[in-house]
Symmetry: C2
Subunit: 235 residues, 2 copies
DNA sequence: CAGTATGGTGAGTGGCTCTCATCGACGTCT
DNA sequence: AGACGTCGATGAGAGCCACTCACCATACTG
């Protein structure tokens, strides 16, 4: 039963204290993740740093995975904001580069957060369905950039697949309509998904320091790859 | 049940027994990783399944990370073999597609192994320098495909960066010369690195089931992306 | 056949997530 | 103002984990 169901006040002192502690926990957890990755997040360590014992945290988060999930959703919002802030006017090619650089920049600034979004953090971890929605809001600004493009022959099968996807999934149609009301939805989706894969690839390699010797510049590779995509989509 | 009657080689029975047990451990570990990812690998569980107690494994592997490292190196060899087997003749575009599909196919067949190579398995894990050599042998077959291509203007900065890399790092020059003795090394490297990023991106998304709704066909996306790259490199 | 290197064990350390009963303190309601 | 009840915090503990160490028995080796 709900405790105080006749007083649905937004912020009782208890509630505000609770929110405060929850946010402090998340903040400390973010520092830990930033230092050693998601696997290094220890509730005991967070509790110690917060000045309480371990079990106390379970009053605020049902489990370690719960905390992780909340951080992941916040990270999605964070990167979505960074990408949205880079969405502007101008020629499509420049807009695409700006979006891509925004994503890449966010990822190299928060490498462990990126890995949180990209990789499977825990063995039995299951991403909540919400995360897919958040991912869509990250990719949304890419849609209008490609809405005016066209697919080369080699991209036609992908476009066809996107066409079927948007037909069979109303939520996807809605999503595309929100960000790119004009142009061909299938083309916009094809370009966006390709861009998504490119970003994922370049940023993964960059963040994991895989080309530590290549003159350490993932930005150059990103520009090259995105430029090739822009060519391919006729932007 | 072991037949140690006859010693044919210079390996003593002890040594052969040791190798046998080591290989059994690795095999069980691979099954566990295949079931739950690298984080789910438990030496205790491996020991139990092998019929011994936990500490016994430390006679064969110095630590969990040591075992993991050895599995990673073997996985590199595995995927390198798969890619090498797909290297054939014909037009460069078809050869590129064949290589890319081989890599993608290996990854979707061994998703957890791919994540072992791509992601950072443990918090404090440091990849041994050998892994970079193995990665090069995976990417080697891509080099000759791009050796005959040329870079578009948008790829020139990347090519310039590759040129400097190959100049400053003799091992890289040697690597390129081995796989692509003809053509411009910088161009070959630029194309290969771009292909590497593309593969990493598409396969990451595919393996993690990120587009479970897109008609679940990472192959279509892969083809589209690789085709765009082939266009961009003039194959 | 004696010596010894090697593999295996049990006990133990310190860490982790997470549960549970209990205690105390604080906000809430009468 | 006082009593109530909820919530936060605790210590103890279960059940994992990786890893160390002293010790023992076996089986290869000279």
């Amino acid at each position: 039963m709900r405790a105080t169901h006749h007083t649905e006040r937004m912020s009782t002192p208890r509630q505000r204290y609770r929110d405060q502690v929850r946010s402090e926990i998340k903040q400390i957890a973010l520092v830990q993740i930033g230092a050693g990755g998601a696997a290094a997040l220890s509730l005991n360590a967070v509790a110690k740093q917060l000045g309480v014992t371990g079990p106390a945290l379970y009053k605020y988060f049902r489990s370690r995975d719960d905390l992780l999930t909340e951080l992941i959703l916040e990270a999605f919002d964070d990167v979505a904001g960074a990408v949205r802030a880079a969405a502007g006017g101008g020629p499509p090619r420049e807009r695409l580069h700006a979006l891509a650089r925004a994503f890449h920049g966010w990822a190299v600034a928060n490498p462990h957060l990126f890995q949180l979004l990209a990789g499977t953090p825990s063995p039995g971890y299951e991403a909540p369905p919400e995360s897919m929605l958040r991912a869509r809001s990250v990719l949304g600004p890419f849609l209008p950039v490609f809405a005016g493009g066209h697919c080369r022959p080699g991209t036609e099968p992908l476009r066809e697949q996107m066409r079927r996807w948007v037909e069979e999934t109303p939520a996807v149609a809605e999503w595309v309509r929100t960000f790119a009301p004009e142009g061909d939805p299938a083309t916009a989706l094809a370009g966006t998904v390709m861009a998504w894969a490119q970003l994922q690839g370049v940023v993964s390699l960059d963040v994991q320091g895989q080309f530590a010797g290549l003159g350490h510049s993932g930005a150059t590779l990103l520009d090259a790859v995105i430029d090739a995509l822009a060519d391919s989509m006729g932007l």
